[in-house]
Subunit: 371 residues, 2 copies
């Protein structure tokens, strides 16, 4: 199985290879040379979880590696600086190539570091987690957390070459699996055609190593479908200046506020997104936009896969937590200026609702479970 | 006196106002609104030297300010983080406006912080030093120093609105004046028409407060001329991918290596550039490209203004310093990969010489004063 896409993001072609096996180091260099003409010195970036995968990619090649601590709590400037210094020590020039081997955090950090190294070096991503494949690797958003806010600092820097090797999912821990599946469900819901949602229903919730060949193929089709949907949305609105890319934020306004209020890294991104989908459904239903059967279908899909669907979220029932959540929501509001929009599901696809058209206390009442 | 330019840098219009007085806060907001339609929340960024100027701009307006330590040694991530956190505390959203009030360091830091704040916020620069006006403010290069290397990290992020108020030069300390004049001389040398060089010869070397109205006007004309030359070069080659923008690096390969070897902040940027011009002349002469009368004219101009023109530079005669210089030059080589070129003066204008076409030890021999 192999699926290849080329998306044009901000005039930059981004070539995506979804395939069975890990790419080899020689294969990456050959592909990159084919796309960009030349490869300078190379630095591999991974985390403690993906160091073994990076080693497999290298095989007998000896190349400098930068190994970061794993997890969302490592998504800091200290990690970015570690990458930049490793690049400098490895003698990378402006034509140097940063290869990020890992999930969403490694992808975001490596891409950010490459985007500012000597004002922009070369970049390749090997996405090794389900969340990374369906979320971080495609679309050019890079960044890290600062001052308790997710991705307060970042750039737009689409990777020209991205691999998504299914084999790297074999060792994926179940929580990361669940996290990725949350984003996959989100993408399926915002897709107007409903095709991906149908494919997802056929999908088991086991990690890859428990899958038979047919299940593996269904997963492949779902990942490829999700990447295709996201890529086309990003092509249409690369810097989220229009209405198109905003749709990808379905569930994310609630998810980011939950992640911040719970403490970054306490709830995985995809699980927060899954919970955010429930909130988006409740809000859409209260506004008369999301039909009850759609609410129930989404709720059922999430409950079947053991996502937290309770509102208020158990993390927010402790003293002060709901207030922290509302403050974080307010921070998101500022982030998007007067322009905050909630994305809510329709019978098919989604729509955006301006916060101005929602009663000021409706969201808080929903969060309190009073609605 | 007033001169206005609009340069199109990387599809982004950059509007430059060279004028007598400091702009007022209300004036800045009105100008920005005229260009961009709306102004969100605002953060003023300055350093301990320009805090008084920032206060004058604000007048009776109360707005949040971020005051950085002054000087090249503050051109670090810590300063960038201080700006980002101040922006967050001041509640700036994606439409927030960062106003950098200061010389080259404040310009570079504020522009870098704005470029990564929520993946790109709004930016205005009030350039208050001669070096800032003729160098940092125009052209979109942002960055900070890391691992002992100048601007190892940075982005391209042209400011859409830039003020250059002559009045801010009144209190400029003489060393900063000399630093700015070094860049001004460089720009005059690379200009094929020779017009700016003629204007510079008429210019006194006093700080602004010692100038009569005629001297002040000559300075105005020289700054405007320099900004015009740089702006047109940057328009033609915004990201230094072609041969055009490279010309601006006249003297800089040597200057950056001197700054690094001497320790960042030990030699001012413009004085290092002036010394780099001497080196470029010696190299060009050794290669038979720079005529002797041109070498002598540039040397004379620099000596008249008391720049260090001795080769080897006194900073490089201490044990180990020349080796550090050659290593830094090698780092610059890596930065530009196989593509390092030295810019050397011709009878008029300049030309680029590939390092490959220069005997390996020629540069080192010149640096030792053995040539």
């Amino acid at each position: 199985m192999k699926q290849e896409y080329t998306f044009i993001v901000d005039r930059t072609p981004s070539y995506v290879r979804i395939q069975e096996e890990l790419p080899s180091f020689a294969g990456i260099c050959a592909d990159f040379q084919g796309l960009n003409g030349a490869v300078g010195r190379v630095l591999l970036v991974c985390d403690t979880n993906t160091a073994a995968i990076a080693r497999k990619i290298l095989g007998k090649e000896e190349r400098p590696r930068c190994v970061l601590p794993a997890g969302e709590t490592a998504k800091t400037w200290a990690s970015v600086e570690a990458i930049l210094r490793a690049g400098q020590e490895a003698g990378l020039g402006r034509d140097g190539l940063f290869i990020g081997v890992g999930g969403g955090v490694v992808s975001d950090l490596t891409a950010f570091a490459a985007s500012i190294y000597m004002r922009g070096a070369s970049l390749c991503l090997v996405s090794t987690s389900l969340l990374g494949m369906v979320d971080a690797a495609v679309g050019g958003k890079t960044g890290f957390d600062l001052g308790g806010l997710k991705n307060l600092a970042g750039t737009f820097y689409p990777a020209p070459l991205i691999y998504m090797p299914l084999d790297s999912l074999v060792s994926l821990p179940p929580p990361e699996w669940k996290s990725g599946m949350g984003e996959l469900i989100k993408t399926a819901i915002l897709d107007d055609t409903g095709a991906l949602l149908g494919q997802l229903r056929l999908l088991g919730s086991d990690p890859l190593d428990g899958m038979d060949p047919a299940g593996r193929e269904r997963l492949f089709v779902a990942i490829a479908g999700s990447v295709g949907i996201k890529g086309r949305i990003v092509e249409a609105d690369p810097r989220e200046t229009g209405a198109e890319r905003m749709r990808l934020n379905l569930g994310h306004t609630f998810a980011h506020a939950l992640e911040s209020a719970a403490g970054l890294g306490q709830v995985s991104h995809g699980e927060a997104v899954a919970w955010g989908l429930v909130c988006a459904c409740e809000l859409g239903y209260a506004l008369g936009l999301t039909p009850l059967d759609r609410v129930e279908a989404i709720d059922g899909l999430l409950r079947d896969r053991s996502y937290e669907t309770r509102v208020p979220h158990p993390f927010l029932t402790a003293p002060g937590k709901l207030e922290a959540f509302m403050r974080a929501l307010d921070g998101d509001k500022k982030k998007k200026a007067g322009d905050l929009r909630f994305i809510v599901p329709l019978a098919k696809g989604v729509t955006a609702v301006s916060a101005k058209d929602i009663a000021a206390d409706l969201v808080e009442r929903i969060m309190r479970g009073e609605h």
